[in-house]
Structures are given as C-alpha cells and as structure tokens.
C-alpha cells in the first residue's frame, strides 16, 4: 500500500485469526493488530483525531504548547504529530511506566514531567490539570473527555472491524480512557443487533490505588456504561499469562494490555461454547511488546515476571 505520508497511513490494520487459541471451529477469536499504526499503537487514531479537531477549532498554531496526561502511548502519538506540525509537546506521565516510553517521547522532542507513582494515571491527570491552570496558553487535549477520541474509533476502528468480520458477535478491548470501547462499541451496536461489547480493565498492584479518599476516584468523562455489555477486571498475572500465550501459540508479540483483552475474550469464548452458540470475537491488540521488554514481562517464569511488574502501569 502506498500513502502520501506516514500520517496518511493511519488505521486499516490487519484483523488476524487465532486458529490455535480459538476453542472451536465456530467459536473464533480475531486480533486487531493496532501496533501496525504510525507510532505503533491504537492511540495514533485518537491522537490524530484530537489534533485535527483542535486545528479545526483554531486552538493550535505553530509553536503552541500541547499538554497531556498520559501513561505513554497517547503521548507518543501526540509527540510525533506535534513534531511534524511544529507544536511543543509536554507529557505528564506516571513515574512507574516503562523506560522505553520516556525514551521514545524524548526522541520525538517531547518534554516529560513525571507524576508520583502512587495513584497512577489519576495523579497524572491531577498534575496536568494544575499545570493547565497555571499556563492558560497551553492546550490540553484531555483524552479522557475529548469526543474526538471516541469519534476516531466510531469512524475508523469500528467500521474496519465490521467490514472484515460481518458476523462479529463480541468486541473486546482494554478500558483506559474508554475511547476505543465507546466509539467502536457505539458504531457496532448500531449495526449488529445483539453484539456484546466487553471491557477488560487492568487490575494493578496496590500502589496504583493509593488514593487518600475513595471520593477522589476517577471515571473518564467519555465513559457511558450503557455502551458496554460487561466489564472484567484482569489481574497482572492473567494479562501476563495471556500475553505469553499469544506469542507461544500464535506468534504475536504484543504489549501486556493485549493479554488482558485476550483473557476477557477467552472468557466470553468459553461462555459461548458452553451455551452451544457460535461466536466471532474481535479483540484489540493495543500495541506491540517492544516498549515492555525492560519490564521483564517476557523473560523468566510467570511468577518472576509478575513480581517485576508489581506497581508498574502495564496498559
């Protein structure tokens, strides 16, 4: 395929079957390989749509500073576009994220401001909001509440999956900003009666939930519970185990959140099989494994990898 530029090559990622992990000939799993995007993650879709919208709204001009709380992938996507378009990029990122993320961000010319590890992405959001208040000329695209994030998936991810898999019965993706699930989920619900939209939410070590008060919790503004059929909490060890199975059984070297989504997808597959129903289950591989090598997720025993991942943000 030929494109005028890297940005033009966004999306149209492969949907690949998983013949060895699918439990039966009529209960099949399909992986949407979002690592085949310009900077290697599903976040390229949201980032490009958010920047395009901000440009249309007249919020961005050469030299404008963009600020974003991110655990990494969105920051990398935004930093790449900002670099090409002449914006300055500042990312607020929790300290407990992999070193590769910081290196890639800096490679694209972004400045990284760390937020404290306790509290995870909640803290990054809090710090970014404070900075935005102190610098009214900075533009915070704010992926957790930006409609262009969900719209990117409504207009691209959802349609691509339906075109490749008209018989789809389940769509499974990781739950973070909720943009992938809200956008793709709404699109698929409008066109596929009875489809299940399933969220796989990462369950981290205790450090990440270190809030002072339960009322300080956070629900992304984009989140609309009615789009989902159900929502699973996936532990680090389950996500790691499935990430390794994806590599061992199907040859797919994916990031750890893909293991989380696969875990939920296999759960839905087992339910369908037990009920004697056919199923075509598509799940999102949000990124490849490269950015997580330093976490030790792929080496040693599962228990060793789990211990190394304790307190790290893996999605």
């Amino acid at each position: 395929m030929r494109y005028d530029s890297l940005l033009d090559s966004l999306g149209h990622t492969p949907l690949v079957g998983l013949p060895r992990l699918s439990p039966a000939p009529d209960v099949r799993l399909w992986a949407k390989l979002e690592d085949r995007n310009p900077t290697g993650s599903v976040k390229d879709r949201a980032a490009f749509f958010m920047i395009e919208q901000a440009e249309k709204d007249g919020l961005l001009a050469p030299g404008t500073t963009i600020l974003e709380p991110t655990s990494g992938n969105t920051g990398i996507s935004l930093a790449m576009v900002a670099h090409l378009r002449g914006y300055t990029m500042i990312c607020v990122m929790p300290e407990n994220t992999s070193v590769e993320r910081r290196q890639i961000l800096e490679m694209y010319g972004a400045q990284v401001i760390y937020s404290p590890p306790a509290g995870g992405s909640n803290e990054a959001v809090r710090v970014a909001r404070r900075l935005a208040g102190e610098h009214p000329d900075w533009v915070m695209l704010y992926q957790y509440g930006n409609e262009a994030n969900a719209r990117a998936h409504y207009e691209t991810t959802g349609p691509e999956i339906l075109e490749d898999l008209p018989g789809i019965t389940h769509f499974v993706a990781g739950l973070g900003t909720t943009g992938t699930l809200m956008g793709s989920g709404r699109f698929l619900r409008e066109r596929v009666p009875g489809i299940s939209i399933v969220a796989a939410e990462p369950r981290y070590g205790e450090l990440v939930y270190g809030l002072r008060n339960i009322d300080e919790g956070f629900v992304p503004e984009l989140y609309d519970e009615s789009v989902l059929t159900t929502r699973f909490s996936v532990s680090s060890v389950d996500a790691l185990r499935r990430t390794r199975e994806l590599l061992d059984e199907e040859g797919i070297f994916a990031g750890i959140s893909a293991g989380g989504a696969l875990h939920a997808a296999l759960g839905m597959a087992a339910k369908a099989q037990a009920a004697g129903e056919r199923a075509d289950i598509a799940f999102v591989v949000a990124d490849g494994g490269w950015k997580y090598l330093s976490t030790g997720a792929y080496s040693g025993t599962l228990a060793e990898a789990e211990a190394r991942l304790e307190g790290q943000l893996w999605a």
Partner: protein, 92 residues
C-alpha cells in the same frame, strides 16, 4: 466455605488492616450488610441511597457487578468479591 472479599488499601482502616475478609449472604447487598456488622462503617463507604457509590467498583469473580445485578447480584460460597476504587485506567 464463605465468600472472600478483597478490601483495597484505602478501606482497610475498617477491617483492622486485613487485605481480605470473609462474609456471607445471598446477594452483594446482604454480604455488605454482614460485613458491616463486624466492620462498622464499611457499608457507608461502599454504598449510598442510590446504590454503589460512584467511585467504588465491586467485582464478583472479576466481573463488575454493575453489569450483573448491582447490589442484588446473587453470590454463593466460594465466590471472590473484589472491591476497588475507580481510577483512571492505564491504557492512555
């Protein structure tokens, strides 16, 4: 047999520091009621008049009870219930 309930750090002041406690009941609401008799005040941190508090997530065997039956979700011996505060997920 009983139902294991995992308690997040922030609520362990109510359980004397215990990470997990055991309880009984036929529904999530009954289970929380049972726990409240031994860990007074816990119920008010988990629910209000409208149901589960906005920033509280409760999972039955890893599935969010809001999609099962809310506080009326049936539970049985051997189940695991996990309570977690709602936080910004990592995937951003």
């Amino acid at each position: 047999m009983a139902i294991e309930v995992r308690i997040p750090t922030i609520l362990r002041t109510y359980t004397g520091g215990a990470k997990a406690v055991e309880g009984s009941g036929a529904t999530i609401a009954e289970l929380i009621g049972d726990l409240d008799t031994r860990y007074g005040g816990l119920r008010d941190r988990l629910q209000d008049e409208a149901g589960l508090r906005r920033f509280v997530n409760v999972y039955l065997n890893d599935e969010d009870v809001r999609f099962l039956g809310g506080l009326e979700t049936p539970v049985k011996d051997g189940d695991t219930v996990t309570v977690l505060p709602a936080v910004a997920g990592g995937a951003g």
